[in-house]
Symmetry: C2
Subunit: 404 residues, 2 copies
């Protein structure tokens, strides 16, 4: 009989969001009047901006006439978008990245998942704990449960920032600003990682999906701000959270041309070549109209509208931070990230606090333990609800705290 990739059988069930949904459903059924506020899922709520909507309508019209219709596009993305990306996200910031190094895609979930196609099964892979589950699950799919997967434990003690591995690690996934903890790495901290990777000939898979939320120019928005990163890092970027593209699907991945690897036979091979081969073979490009929408994000109007959206979410983050800190919560994130990571009060574990918050405040968040064992005792709130609902939610938590 034909055989399957049995590594799939070693994956844990992804119960987190389904368990949350079931608990909320049960609560609603027994509390029909409850006005539930959701600060759980990391999805945006503001609509696409006018510049993006106009670009979509214009490009849809192009697709409706024979003269301007576009069929297959380049698998790597259209030059107009790769140039807009390079100009605004890199050149204007003094970062050396060329359009040829940009691969436009349909989402960072796809790219951070598919990048493993290029990597050997003998690598030792390090992943932070807690973590965005895709890195771990896609690594498990590829190499199975193994002592070659190392968890970099984060906790209050290290400020939820991983320490450099003391033993051999070939590949490390880093996500900053971080999901779920909202923490960021300073230039110095990121530099130590780049230096470590160069010395150890390791590869950094750097997920910068939340870079647009950074408010302090001294914090790096791209790993390529760090000297040497072009020789050791791949970076993933997304329009999902910055421009509200979660339902539109556009992202890009940067693979610098000097990122090389030596094969078993001693040959030097470029990862840019390998990723290009992967994408040309297993992907047929992001829709033309979506690429025009992404291009519009880089127009002057698009940039301004994006900033308004981000500011609005970050005001929510500030409301959550202040409200919780005023009531004695220990927390991380929310300053350069739409995620607030709080320590559950009164010694509650993650799910106990989930139940508590749902029952007492009618608020839904995400139990930290859902992102890994090291997340136990923590809890994630997101800044993606409306200003009004966020203020209301924090008021409820404040009243609860005052009476406890």
């Amino acid at each position: 009989m034909f055989q399957i990739n049995e590594h799939y059988l070693q994956l844990g069930e992804s119960y987190l969001f389904s368990t949350i949904a079931r608990k909320v459903e049960q609560f609603s059924a027994t509390h029909p009047g409850a006005d539930i506020i959701r600060l759980g899922i990391g999805d945006v709520t503001l609509p696409l901006s006018p510049a993006v909507i106009s670009a979509l309508h214009r490009s849809v019209d192009e697709m409706g006439t024979k003269e301007s219709f576009r069929g297959y596009g380049p698998e790597q993305g259209y030059a107009f978008l790769r140039e807009a990306i390079t100009e605004t996200d890199f050149r204007k910031r003094g970062i050396n990245i060329s359009p040829a190094e940009i691969f436009v895609s349909d989402g960072s979930k796809s790219d951070t998942g598919n990048i493993g196609d290029l990597l050997g099964e003998g690598n030792v892979v390090a992943i932070t704990d807690p973590v965005y589950p895709v890195y771990l699950d896609t690594t498990l799919m590829r190499i199975g449960r193994s002592d070659r997967i190392r968890l970099l434990r984060c906790s209050g003690e290290n400020g939820f920032l991983p320490e450099l591995p003391q033993e051999r690690v070939d590949i490390v996934y880093l996500c900053y600003p971080n999901n779920p903890t909202g923490t960021v790495m300073t230039r110095e901290e990121l530099t130590t990682w780049v230096d470590w990777a160069l010395v150890n000939e390791s590869l950094i898979l750097f997920d910068a999906a939340y870079e647009a939320f950074i408010r302090d120019e001294s914090i790096p928005r791209s790993i390529y701000e760090i000297e040497g990163a072009r020789r050791c890092a791949i970076e993933f970027r997304s329009f999902s959270k910055s421009a509200g593209f979660t339902g539109l699907r556009c992202s890009y991945t940067v693979v610098p041309e000097e990122l090389m690897v030596i094969t078993h036979s001693g040959e030097s091979v470029s990862l840019h070549y390998l990723w290009n081969r992967r994408q040309s073979t297993k992907f047929n490009g992001t829709p033309y109209i979506i690429q025009r929408a992404a291009e519009a994000v880089y127009s002057p109007a698009g940039q301004q509208e994006m900033q308004v959206m981000i500011d609005s979410y970050m005001e929510n983050a500030a409301v959550i931070r202040k409200g919780l800190m005023d009531h004695g919560y220990t927390l991380y994130g929310g300053e350069h990230s739409p995620y607030i990571w709080l320590q559950c009060p009164d010694g509650l574990d993650s799910w106990q606090f989930f139940d508590h918050l749902l029952e007492k405040c009618h608020i839904v968040g995400t139990p930290g333990v859902g992102f890994g064992a090291a997340g136990e005792g923590y809890f994630r709130l997101t800044a993606f609800n409306s200003a009004e609902r966020t203020v209301e939610a924090i008021g409820r938590i404040a009243r609860l705290s005052s009476t406890r």
Copy 2:
């Protein structure tokens, strides 16, 4: 140092279309007045139909207001599209497929490439020769060059239809109507394959991307028209050629719920579960607006407009077939497929005929050898140019043949 998946190094370079482009460029440079007609690449040329364009504009507007904005959708696709697919493509044809068995995606290239994620490396994989290169390249990426890859040689002798394997084969890729040969399988022929798969406990990966071009109701448009296929086949479908979505990117894959595999430890596992796990982990769904566009293909207006497009391409196919046959060419396809596969005249090999056609007729086609060694001496023309240009092209070939 970190390691790569060295199977990538065993891939041939994909020189085919770049070589064609270079040759055409050189010819144009030395023949500046030449009016070149392209019948090479399998991309559509007619614009999106009015029903599709309207659905796109409507859904773009939805994305611009807070009330109707849609963020992350289900990874498997929205219910509205999965239901429309099931109703028109299966239920109306008496085929038993449920919406839960449909996975909406961004293209059959992605799905036929990514399906390998689920499969064990010990499988013996059969691929026809000539073949759509993605099946071979993605298999090579996964398992490397190996005697576990078997080529099913097609030729004029077997009418460019593969014979059943005489030795063990665990997985076979079949594409009908075929790219590049344009051949189809009758119900009887496809039934022998399904019966073979059931007896041998093999898996058929059935690419039906061109089913909409079938003009004869007796030819199966889905493998699930064949008894037992739900237990041995995954089917890939695309909106690319049928509805002109090559630049819009939408496809779907059918994984029936009773398609099971026995693991090494004797456990029974469903491929539907595995593909769902893969897609939920490495994919974040097809854009909402694209799914609305695909839904519009199933509206009465959308269905009629699609038929007009297909009829138009198939008239081109008929022009090419008749013109070539009138001048003594031996050919396959073009009756239920937009591809015409012809034997190069006068003993020319594929590239010699390419040069000949370019120099004498200013026509660009695709050398058959580019699809595999068994394609040597053959040549692919496509029906996707305009009616006017197709007639002009065939007139040129006719004049050439008359004078030879």
